[in-house]
């Protein structure tokens, strides 16, 4: 069976490079799943969870927007603004970030631009938290630091 030749890169690093059976990712039109043999596609990624399956193994990765390109011959390239594996998410820090953002939204007066910025970061933090909690029972090696620096 043919496989997806997948690469997920951010400006900071290559997060994942693997042969996959299937890939689900959040786009502006909703969650899509890409299987081998998909026609060429370019789509905008939104913040959410990217699930990469290969054999019995699954990768759960948090992405915060970017692009995905499906090339001919099942080559898939995801250009994410930032991405991290679920086990790299620092739950405690993220919880703090959520609290900070919620406090900022409820207490301070902001211009609509600032509001959008805070709301977007709150949204991202909540997504990360969800992903981290959902998969917290899975044991994964803890590797160094995450991509995010608050």
């Amino acid at each position: 069976m043919s496989k997806l030749n997948f690469q997920l890169v951010t400006p900071e690093r290559t997060v994942l490079k693997e042969e996959l059976d299937s890939l689900s990712c959040p786009t502006t039109l909703g969650q899509i799943t890409i299987l081998p043999g998909h026609i060429p596609l370019v789509a905008t990624l939104t913040a959410g969870e990217l699930v990469a399956k290969s054999g019995g193994k699954e990768h759960f990765i948090n992405v915060t927007g970017g692009f995905i390109e499906v090339r001919p011959n099942s080559q898939v390239v995801a250009l994410a603004d930032a991405a991290e594996h679920h086990y790299e998410i620092d739950v405690q820090k993220t919880e703090e970030a959520v609290k900070r953002a919620q406090k900022a939204i409820s207490e301070t007066k902001m211009s609509s631009e600032e509001y959008a910025k805070v709301a977007a970061s709150l949204n991202q933090s909540l997504t990360r938290l969800n992903i981290a909690r959902k998969h917290s029972h899975r044991r994964q090696p803890i590797t160094g630091e995450g991509v995010f620096k608050e």
Binding site: Q7, V9, T10, P11, E12, R13, T14, T27, T28, L29, I32, I39, P40, L41, V42, A43, T44, F67, E69, R71, P72, V77, L79
Partner: protein, 333 residues
């Protein structure tokens, strides 16, 4: 033969210089490691992003041909009428268009702020000169203006980043559109926005045929290569064969081309500028580190040379003095 005292001062001043160059070597070495890391890490992203836009560009010409023969005819017709109106997919922004009739090219030059980088800047500026001369005929200084073909006479406008490039451009009375200050700290993507915006606006105005970036590509600590990159239009100069184009083409856009490209194009331009700046930075620090290392070593050689001469002279002096004393004593006896 210099005197003993002169030698002593020279040795002292050279060791002073050596201290300075050694300190600068240390500083550059630390900065070098950081900037090399940053460059290597984001290289994959930049090159993949670049491939993506080339794929789309290659596909776009074919995409309009797929709906049916009529579309091909329409495209053919419009192409015959006016090659500059190569509007392709619906929603393709001005950035995806090429302007073969424009009379100018914009050139972004990435140089260093300070010297002591060997031939890094001069190599780059030589490349600029050479490329521009082959691309451009200087309209004002061209003596046989009448002879030059109007359609091919291009003017170059410069955008500089880094003090050295700006100084050279101003000294040689070139048209400098804008100068962006180069920061000594590590750049962030936010620092790129104004440059990207300027370039985008320039190109969208339709007055520019091309946008070129000149930068030093970081190859290794010892090797940096001056390079030119054509940022806009995206299409590479080599035209791919029609057949392969039709096969690889036909990208599906979600939600639609306009929406995707609206986000994608600025991001790609930014990532390319960001990457070239990182490359330049890594090249600069590497070149400076190597230069300072050479300087420190040369100073060391010089010092040991001079010390040898100094010791010889001193020994000579002592020997002469001793001989004189002995001679005096013998004369007294």
């Amino acid at each position: 033969m210099p005197g003993i005292k002169e030698l002593k001062t020279r040795i002292k001043s050279i060791s002073g210089t050596r201290k300075v160059t050694r300190a600068m070597q240390m500083v550059s070495a630390a900065k070098m490691r950081k900037s090399q890391d940053a460059t290597m890490r984001s290289r994959t992203y930049a090159s993949l992003a670049w491939e993506l836009i080339l794929d789309i560009e290659a596909g776009s010409t074919a995409a309009i041909a797929t709906p049916g023969q009529d579309a091909v005819d329409v495209l053919q017709e419009s192409a015959d009428l006016d090659p500059s109106s190569r509007m392709l997919l619906p929603g393709m922004t001005q950035l995806m268009t090429s302007y073969p009739k424009a009379t100018k090219i914009a050139v972004l030059i990435l140089t260093t702020n300070r010297g002591m980088v060997g031939s890094l800047n001069s190599n780059l500026l030589n490349l600029v000169q050479k490329t521009i001369e082959s691309e451009v005929r200087w309209a004002p200084s061209e003596p046989d203006n009448s002879k030059t073909d109007g359609a091919h006479r291009l003017e170059a406008d410069f955008i500089t980043y880094g003090r050295k490039g700006r100084d050279v451009m101003i000294r040689s009375h070139k048209e400098v559109l804008a100068d962006f200050e180069k920061f000594d700290r590590t750049i962030t993507t936010e620092d790129i926005f104004p440059i990207a915006e300027l370039i985008t606006n320039l190109y969208s105005s339709g007055k520019y045929q091309k946008v070129l970036i000149f930068y030093n590509r970081f190859v290794s600590t010892l090797v940096q290569k001056p390079m030119v990159k054509q940022l806009l239009p995206f299409a590479s100069n080599s035209a791919p064969t029609k057949d392969s184009e039709l096969k690889t083409a036909d990208y599906l856009f979600e939600p639609n081309p306009a929406e995707v490209l609206k986000h994608l194009l600025p991001r790609i331009i930014e990532s390319q500028i960001y990457q070239t700046i990182l490359e330049s930075e890594a090249s600069e620090q590497s070149a400076r580190m190597v230069m300072m290392k050479n300087a420190t070593e040369a100073a060391g050689d010089l010092i040991s040379d001079l010390t040898l001469t100094y010791n010889k002279l001193r020994q000579n002096k002592i020997t002469t003095e001793l001989a004189e004393i002995t001679a005096g004593k013998i004369a007294l006896e």
